[in-house]
């Protein structure tokens, strides 16, 4: 199947290894990946901060870029949530019925990474090997916007050698929240400290999630505290086939 990758703006710039991992997993499963270079950003940061006017052209760009594409895979629950939760309303506000229809069509094709694998492609065993203890942070957007259930756990459970440890208080926000993390840095940091304490309590070597934004927050606090726990996107664990050392 031809799958179009929506890398998302921050993965493109900050976490290219996540994109490479998504490509590796999908190609290993026998699919073909395309990357449309005209893509930039879904508009989440602008929209959530109150800049709806700036977010609108980014939504239009998404519609234009993925016109005619098949399933679209985004390794970020929060970007998919942005689209599902807000695009229909944004399109309706323009009064442009064609745009509304195109947005609806786009949304029918967009999948978060674990949704695509488990729900759309019907796969849980992607042939990965990762002999480490891992704990899973369920991001707020995957949990409460996309209502993703146990898809990530099922994917992780099928990974050879992987030992999954449950993260206590897993439904609690890590405190990232986009611009919240700088506008209310004090509270955001306190929330990260709680999350870090839970992660450390599991004794896991790796903390994973479907959202690098959460992992940037959790990982940033872990590193500042000189903790040895690594943060890795779910795709990077699923891409791993070599037992032994953690990827760099």
């Amino acid at each position: 199947m031809l799958i179009s990758l929506f890398i998302t703006c921050y993965n493109d710039a900050l976490f290219p290894s996540t994109g490479k991992a998504v490509v590796a997993v999908l190609e290993r499963l026998g699919h073909t990946v395309e990357f449309r270079d005209a893509q930039t950003c879904c508009g989440q940061m602008h929209y959530n901060t109150g800049y709806a006017r700036e977010a609108l052209p980014l939504m239009r760009r998404m519609v234009d870029v993925y016109r005619g594409a098949g399933p679209i895979c985004a390794p970020s629950a929060s970007c998919v949530a942005m689209m599902r939760d807000h695009y229909p309303k944004m399109a309706a506000e323009t009064g442009d019925q064609r745009l509304e229809a195109e947005v609806a069509d786009l949304l029918g094709r967009v999948f978060e990474f674990s949704e695509l694998l488990v729900d759309r492609l019907g796969v849980t065993d992607v042939g990965a090997a990762f002999p480490h203890t891992v704990t899973l942070h369920t991001s707020c957007h995957s949990l409460r916007s996309l209502h993703i259930g146990d898809q990530p756990e099922r994917l992780l459970a099928a990974v050879q050698g992987l030992q999954l440890v449950t993260l206590p208080r897993r439904d609690e926000c890590c405190g990232f929240g986009g611009t919240f993390s700088v506008k209310n840095a004090g509270v955001s940091t306190a929330m990260a400290a709680d999350k870090v304490a839970c992660v450390l309590g599991t004794g896991a070597e790796v903390c994973t999630a479907g959202d690098n934004s959460c992992l940037m927050q959790i990982g940033g606090a872990l590193r500042r505290g000189n903790a040895a726990v690594r943060c890795l996107h779910l795709a990077e664990i699923l891409a791993s086939t070599a037992p032994g050392e953690l990827p760099p």
Binding site: A13, S181, G220, R223
Partner: protein
């Protein structure tokens, strides 16, 4: 001016939050209390087999009332009056306080016993009463602790949640003149009971808020846990109730929905221990004179906004406070309003006017925990974003606006995005420590003060992909 409690003098949220974060005892108390309530709520919600249907019913009833608020309020007025009550209308806080002071004065009284009510905190009634030489006595145990401690509520349902038992003992010792008071729950409740009983039996004017106003019968419903409320509602000769206009529901049968939703959401109980319902007056039974003041104080303006009018569906259960990871860190005082937590973050700016409250709509990570627990399905994250949009349209800080414009330009084409990524890689050089950025200036300093930030790697994904397409990448 429309006011909400002590908000006028409060600092912006981030500043007040940092002060709260430094108070270890406060945070411990708030965390403990919210976790206890959350745990109880989760149990009684899980045992209800039609919880989602109940929430939807609650939402629909409230949304229906808001669409027809004018006719339901008039029906309530007519039926309450027929039952012997006196209905007053107040456009704002000062108007409501004036009406209440005048009623008490007309009876020549100088004291009033109060049932727990947030609305009278919203109008700052106690200050108005004291200014008129009338002494208000709070009778809800938590409100009594707040009043005696010269404090302000930090939670909608459990206003003294930020106080622990040792602190309460100290307040009672000093303010009740009980130097030998013990610290066990029994000691504290006995002291409160003796202190309050004397007032219940002596003061002839009672005051309450309302949980629900029933249009069909003109009745008022108050739910509570202690029974002190019922004392105030039944013992005095004169009873005055203050209620926001959004409290009206169509009919008695609608209580079936709300009397399940409210206690389970608020205190994690299947039912409140005391559910008091009365219509007007009944000769020989309860108060001889009943007044109700219906308060607008900005509510009709909220109603006029098609997105945020959902705010008025709120039944003040405070489940969103207990669920909120921000509230759990800071407690309620940081919100600078008696309405704190997620509901406060949307209610306060709307009641008070945006110019005083440009920070509250940003006091959320938009994690959605509030929406998930709300018994009337108020989409708080969506309303927060809506209010943020209004702030931006009214003029956000220059630095932020420039940053957002810059980002919009970067995202306007892949060519601009590549350029922006290149500039970023160049600018980060002096701050690089391995693959991390430890200390950044300007807007980013707020992040790097407490957290590392990954540096932009040499090659973006799109450049890797382009190279791979050309056959040059791994």
């Amino acid at each position: 001016m429309i006011r909400v409690g002590n908000a006028a003098a409060a600092p912006e949220f981030a500043v007040a939050a940092d002060q709260a974060l430094a108070n270890v005892q406060l945070r411990r108390n708030v965390r403990h209390a919210t976790e206890v309530i959350r745990g109880k709520r989760a149990l009684v919600v899980a045992e209800s087999d039609d919880w989602q249907a109940l929430r939807e019913s609650g939402r629909q009833i409230k949304a229906h009332v808001l669409r027809h608020l004018d006719s339901y309020l008039e029906a309530f007025e007519e039926n309450c009056t027929r039952a012997g009550g006196h209905v007053h209308w107040a456009a704002d806080a000062d108007g409501a306080n004036r009406i209440i002071v005048d009623i008490i004065r007309s009876h020549g009284e100088q004291e009033v016993i109060k049932v727990k009510t947030m609305t009278s905190d919203e109008t700052r009634l106690n200050a108005a009463l004291e200014g008129a030489g009338i002494a208000p006595h709070e009778t809800d145990l938590a409100d009594l602790i707040i009043q005696l401690g010269n404090d302000t509520p930090s939670h909608i349902v459990v206003p003294a949640l930020h106080r622990n038992r040792a602190e309460i003992r100290e307040i009672f010792r000093q303010k009740m003149g009980l130097p030998d008071l013990g610290g066990e729950p029994h000691d504290l409740t006995t002291a409160a009971r003796q202190y309050l009983r004397e007032k219940f039996l002596r003061v002839p004017v009672g005051f309450s808020g309302a949980n629900f106003l029933i249009a069909e019968t003109g009745a008022v419903c108050v739910v509570e846990s202690e029974g002190n409320g019922r004392m105030c509602l039944t013992l005095p000769r004169v009873l005055i109730t203050l209620a926001g206009i959004e409290k009206v529901i169509p009919a008695l049968r609608d209580l079936e929905v709300f009397l399940q939703l409210l206690p389970r959401s608020a205190t994690g109980e299947r039912m409140n221990p005391y559910n008091t319902l009365w219509a007007g007056t009944t000769p020989g039974d309860g108060p001889e004179e009943f007044h109700i003041v219906l308060l607008d104080n900005g509510r009709t303006r909220v109603l006029a906004d098609p997105v945020s009018r959902e705010t008025l569906q709120c039944i003040r259960c405070a489940a969103c406070l207990n669920a909120c990871p921000v509230y759990r860190q800071t407690g309620g005082h940081a919100y600078g309003s008696i309405y704190s937590g997620p509901i406060g973050a949307i209610l306060t700016p709307q009641l008070q006017g945006m110019q005083h409250s440009t920070s509250l709509p940003y006091a959320s990570s938009l994690c959605g925990a509030c929406y998930e627990v709300c018994p009337v399905k108020i989409n708080i994250p969506e309303i927060l974003i809506h209010l943020r949009r209004r702030i931006v349209e009214g003029g956000a800080p220059l630095g932020e606006r420039m940053g957002m414009k810059g980002a919009a330009l970067a995202f306007s084409s892949p060519a601009w995005l590549r350029r922006a990524q290149m500039i970023g890689r160049f600018l980060q050089r002096p701050f690089r420590k391995g693959d991390q950025l430890a200390h950044l200036p300007g807007l980013f300093a707020a992040w790097t003060r407490t957290r590392d930030l990954p540096a932009l790697p040499a090659q973006s994904f799109r450049d890797w992909w382009a190279a791979r397409e050309r056959g040059g990448a791994s």
